[in-house]
């Protein structure tokens, strides 16, 4: 019997599964209360890169003092992410035949710092693992060497730091190292599952 999908199991235990939609009266009362609040004058938030450091510090202070108001203040625009992506792909190796794909950004979205690098690393991970999975012994050795190079470029996300900082948390890096060690022993179980689930 196949293992149950844990996502499906979680869905079956969703506490909101039987939550009824808010009544029309409740919806309208809340909406009217919100609409009665004044809207602040618009201001431009998108920083130029040269001033970002100062504004990041200001955003952190704003977040600490005013909570959710500062949530997205330290994030990057799609233009910045795309530019970073193009820069870092010049330094990240890919296996023979692999090419970079557009990071498929939401033009209205805001992205965490180092998002361009993370997009590139993600593509490189998939490309090298696929190359490993499809290859003979020599190609697998080449793929492992390539992946190890990519691994050295993976930044650590400091424990306790904001998600906006980007990078891989320590347990993710340990898991990736475990995959490398397994692949070096010829065990591709986790590599194939990673490819299946993510690439």
């Amino acid at each position: 019997m196949p293992a149950p999908d844990v996502l499906e199991l979680l869905r079956r235990t969703d506490p909101a599964r039987e939550l009824q939609p808010a009544s029309a009266d409740v919806r309208d009362r809340l909406r009217q209360a919100i609409l009665a609040e004044p809207v602040p004058a618009p201001s431009r938030r998108t920083p130029r890169r040269s001033t970002r450091l100062v504004l990041v510090a200001a955003a952190v202070a704003l977040f600490l003092s005013a909570g959710a108001w500062g949530v997205f203040s330290a994030l990057d625009s799609p233009e910045t992410v795309r530019s970073d992506f193009e820069d870092v792909t010049k330094t990240i190796p890919l296996p023979p035949g692999a090419t970079w794909k557009d990071p498929n950004l939401d033009e209205n979205g805001l992205y965490g710092q180092r998002a361009g690098l993370m997009h590139a690393l993600y593509q490189a991970e998939c490309a090298w693992w696929r190359y490993w999975d499809e290859g003979d012994a020599a190609q697998k050795a080449e793929a492992l060497a390539g992946f190890r190079q990519v691994r050295t470029l993976m930044p650590l996300h400091p424990d306790g730091a904001s998600e906006d900082v980007g990078g891989y948390d320590d347990s993710s890096l340990r898991f990736i190292d475990q995959m490398i060690a397994e692949a070096a022993r010829g065990d591709g179980t986790n590599v194939r599952q990673f490819l299946l689930a993510n690439c």
Binding site: A3, L10, T13, A16, E37, N108, S172, L196, A197, C199
Partner: protein
Amino acid sequence: MPEPQDHEARFNRLYERHLDAVRAYAWRRAPGLADEIVAETFLIAWRRLPDVPDDALPWLIGVARNVRANLHRSDRRQDALVQRLGPEPAAGADPLASVDEREALRGALAGLSETDREVLLLTAWDDLDRGQVAKALGCSRANVAVRLFRARRRLQAALGENDSTHPIPGGVSDARS
């Protein structure tokens, strides 16, 4: 700058489309604070409407997540997330979600980091795809993919189903952009 009526019309569309999803998100994590989280989240959306992207739900969930964190910090009310794994099913209604499975899930969820747990629950409960989860958490899609992959394996292991010869079911269909 948009006319006030345009601002209000856009907000009304946003509100009608996403109120139930944001309310469900809040209710799942902190039922005692759900009303406050919803009200504050949409108030922020009203005031920052020009910043709200077209794909608004991840943005709203991200705000709700921070509102919830701030409310918890301010009054230290207990986060009931791990305790809230759904009502007991009626007899025969859902035989697969057994008490044992729910207990195992509860323990496994408690063992995950807060962000890993959120990646998993935003996917399973809030039905966000990976790109949306990344936006809601303000991290990269790559980070979401690694966290989701790892969290699913840990949950599977906790359920005693960690047969590594089986691919993770749903892995392909779940690979949304």
